[in-house]
Symmetry: C2
Subunit: 203 residues, 2 copies
């Protein structure tokens, strides 16, 4: 495409580097910024620079945090011996939203993915192994994808010989979902991993 | 949503101000930036600040331009008496891509839209009226939406008493489209505005 201005071309080029944003959307966003007040875009730019330069991670669980140790890790009411292993901060936020989980987290920062060149050494696995001796139970709570399953299996192999319970979150039919529209793999797993009815309605 | 960090929350808030980007996508983009190198995001931020502060518009046609007068307006080979009125720079780029249009442009910067509070005074209409006395023909090339039609009718009313041909781009069935899948309004217009067959294959 022939751009009428180098400045516009640069901006479109930079915006379209973001995942899921093509050249056409980038152009739309750039023109939107030109229509709005300058300060609005300047404030966006400033918040991005601040984000990448000033964000802090909890030294214990690696979650994004206000302080050196996050609110969950520093909360004496949380069970520090129950560690839930997740991929990123969005999973922490989602589980915290349930309002019921009383343990702590460990944020890996990704999943093992040979396709994207992410191996175990790129993830926060060493520090999990270090923390493990303080734990009674480690819950593996990664997405049920090939990368998630691979990562969970890798963690299980490393941790299994220790005196800790290694558990995995339940896979099954979502609450509110219809059986007839559930894929076979999920349906099979939900039958294989059935639990006593009394336990299923207890919560 | 409860964010673990004010810096993250701010960034997500700012990103989600952009059109078509919700909180969830904004969060995904913010985490993507945290995974990539700082310089990449800093360079994005810089290009946005540069965009809103340094972009130039052609003083004649209001298109985004490198110089005070754009390449089209300053090109002696272009017919300065043929003015194509468009909404924004994307339309200029699309028409330039055909490689066949030999006139110049006039970029309105939007369409009349009472819903969005955009009236004629927010658009570059005064300068079009000024330029009009130099023109032989003014082509109205706005989108065929309610706002586009309203704007074209408004321009027609202002310009019709002058000694200029006011034309509108042809509405009809797109090249390559099937008649049976064309909506009734387009089909009717394409029949009403039919042209001699010899003229239709001339190009």
């Amino acid at each position: 495409m022939q751009y009428p201005s180098k400045i516009l071309e640069n901006a479109v080029e930079e915006i379209s580097q973001l995942p899921g944003i093509g050249k056409r959307t980038a152009m739309r966003l750039a023109l939107h910024m030109l229509k709005k007040s300058k300060t609005q875009t300047e404030s966006l730019a400033e918040s991005l620079v601040k984000l990448v330069n000033e964000i802090k991670y909890c030294k214990k669980c690696h979650a994004i945090s206000e302080n050196d140790i996050c609110d969950v890790c520093s909360n004496a009411m949380r069970d520090q011996q129950l560690i839930c292993v997740v991929e990123d901060i969005r999973d922490v936020m989602a589980i915290e939203n349930t309002g019921q989980y009383k343990g702590v987290y460990h944020v890996l920062g990704g999943k093992i993915s040979p396709m994207e060149g992410i191996g175990p050494q790129q993830l926060k696995i060493d520090s999990l192994v270090e923390r493990a001796h303080l734990a009674n139970e480690i819950i593996l709570a990664l997405s049920s994808t090939m990368e998630g399953d691979t990562t969970m299996f890798y963690l299980y192999k490393i941790l299994k010989d220790r005196d800790i319970l290694i558990s995995a979150i339940a896979r099954g039919i979502g609450v509110g979902d219809e059986i007839e529209f559930t894929d076979e793999v999920t349906l099979l797993r939900s039958i294989q991993n059935r639990i006593p009815y009394s336990a299923s309605v207890m919560h």
